[in-house]
């Protein structure tokens, strides 16, 4: 069997898997961004209870394995009467986990905005919410973008774990094909190539483009 005939026979399975991976990726990314912003801001709160809750969340999700979190959501939650759909469990685990890393990026970026920017906006009598929304977050966004580029690629790769709870993503399809055809080189090779194409030709250019747009907006480009 040639690689061309292998693709002709099983190509559609890879396409289906890649689509599920793409949707998993987008859902996880949306959740991770939400979680990152929420907990990143909470970590800067002057209220110690809010701050500690956020730090606790981040430490827990960064300090334990994503795979264990995934299994916990999938196998343990039903014991408490909460049964979630495979797909939902998959992106919840990935989104919550990567969101914890993102929260640190948000916190770090906000703290990296020079103190003078806080003082200047304070001197214009802006309220704390206005300072944050109009002055600090737009600048923090530019600061954290390159680091988010890494995190987003990491997030894509993490979605491969959802295959282990039977979400029919790219990795799941590759494993299925491998066990039925034993063509490991081609099945996993194709999966590798598709993941690489996603990250190198979709995510990276998107992030670079966003960085360029933002650089132009602050007059650096």
């Amino acid at each position: 069997m040639t690689y061309t005939s292998f693709l002709a026979d099983y190509g559609s399975r890879f396409v289906d898997g890649a689509l599920v991976t793409a949707i998993q990726f987008l859902c996880s990314l949306g959740l991770a961004v939400l979680v990152a912003n929420l907990f990143g801001l909470m970590m800067l709160s002057s209220n110690p209870v809010v701050r500690r809750a956020a730090v606790g969340y981040v430490e827990f999700f960064r300090g334990t394995s994503l795979l264990v979190q995934l299994f916990w959501l999938f196998y343990v939650l039903p014991l408490f009467g909460i049964t979630l759909d495979n797909f939902l469990t998959g992106f919840l685990a990935v989104g919550l986990n990567l969101g914890a890393y993102g929260a640190e990026l948000v916190r770090g970026a906000i703290q990296s905005v020079p103190r003078g920017q806080w003082e200047a906006s304070y001197a214009l009598s802006m309220s704390p919410a206005q300072q944050m929304r109009k002055i600090i977050i737009p600048q923090a966004f530019v600061i954290m973008l390159p680091a988010w580029g890494n995190l987003v690629v990491e997030l894509l790769k993490s979605t491969a774990l959802v295959a282990l709870i039977a979400v029919p993503d790219l990795m799941f399809e590759a494993r299925q094909l491998n066990s039925s055809t034993y063509l490991s080189t081609w099945t996993f090779g194709t999966a590798l190539i598709i993941y690489y194409v996603f990250s190198r030709f979709l995510i990276t250019p998107c992030m670079r483009w966003t960085e360029r747009i933002m650089a132009r907006r602050i007059g650096r480009a």
């Binding site: 020079p114 920017q117 200047a120 304070y122 001197a123 009598s125 802006m126 602050i218």
Partner: protein, 272 residues
Amino acid sequence: MMEDLSSYPLELVGPDIPMVRFMKVRKSYGDLIVLDNLNLDVAPSEMVSIIGPSGSGKTTVLRMLMTLETINGGVIYVDGKPLTHMPKNGVLVRADAKYLRKARSSIGMCFQHFNLFPHMTALQNCMEGPVLVLGLSRREARERAEELLLMVGMIDKKDQHPSRLSGGQQQRVAIARALAMRPKVMLFDEVTSALDPEVIGEVTNVIKDLVFKHRLTMLMVTHQMGFARDISDRVCFFYGGKIEEQDSPAELFSNPKSKRTQQFLSAVKAAD
């Protein structure tokens, strides 16, 4: 220990109330006393320059007036009303965030490092405060900003971001941005210290204009003695958290009475 504030008036009354009054103001960081029992009045339309060696507390005076620093004792009044405190049940209590926000809107400040918002053009920098805080429409704010940018000679650069402007140009935009809020008091904190020597003049000329044409009440911390002498109504020499000597510029620079003032001025002269 809580300070007894009952001896401080709820507001200043009378025919000659100063625009700014520091009344027994104290500021310390832990055990380090930065300002001790400061009493200073600034009359409406008066230009007061503050000079002194590093660590004498001169910048702290401006930062306290901008409420960027909380004071540990005493009360600051602006235009007769308390700034750092607010009246409650017939006595002064420490001002809350809402009161402070409203009270400090009568004060504008320019910083040593300009602190323009890098993600906004010169025009947007001058419009943001009036739109967000004063509630002006974007059209009104734009007209006001353009008028001020014209005044500081920056109208042709209004669509440039700060990264495209020289230090002197950025500082002029920063002055326009502060003026756009129509403050009663303007504070200049070493606004020429971060500038290359050849562009200092473009900023000092703008400030001179404000002094001689617009008669705003101003406080300026500066290391430029010549500039302070030219434009000030009064010069205060700070030393060790206190006003060591204050007088008209002609008197203070030509005939300083305190030994410390004499030493400081001769050291500055030698450095020039």
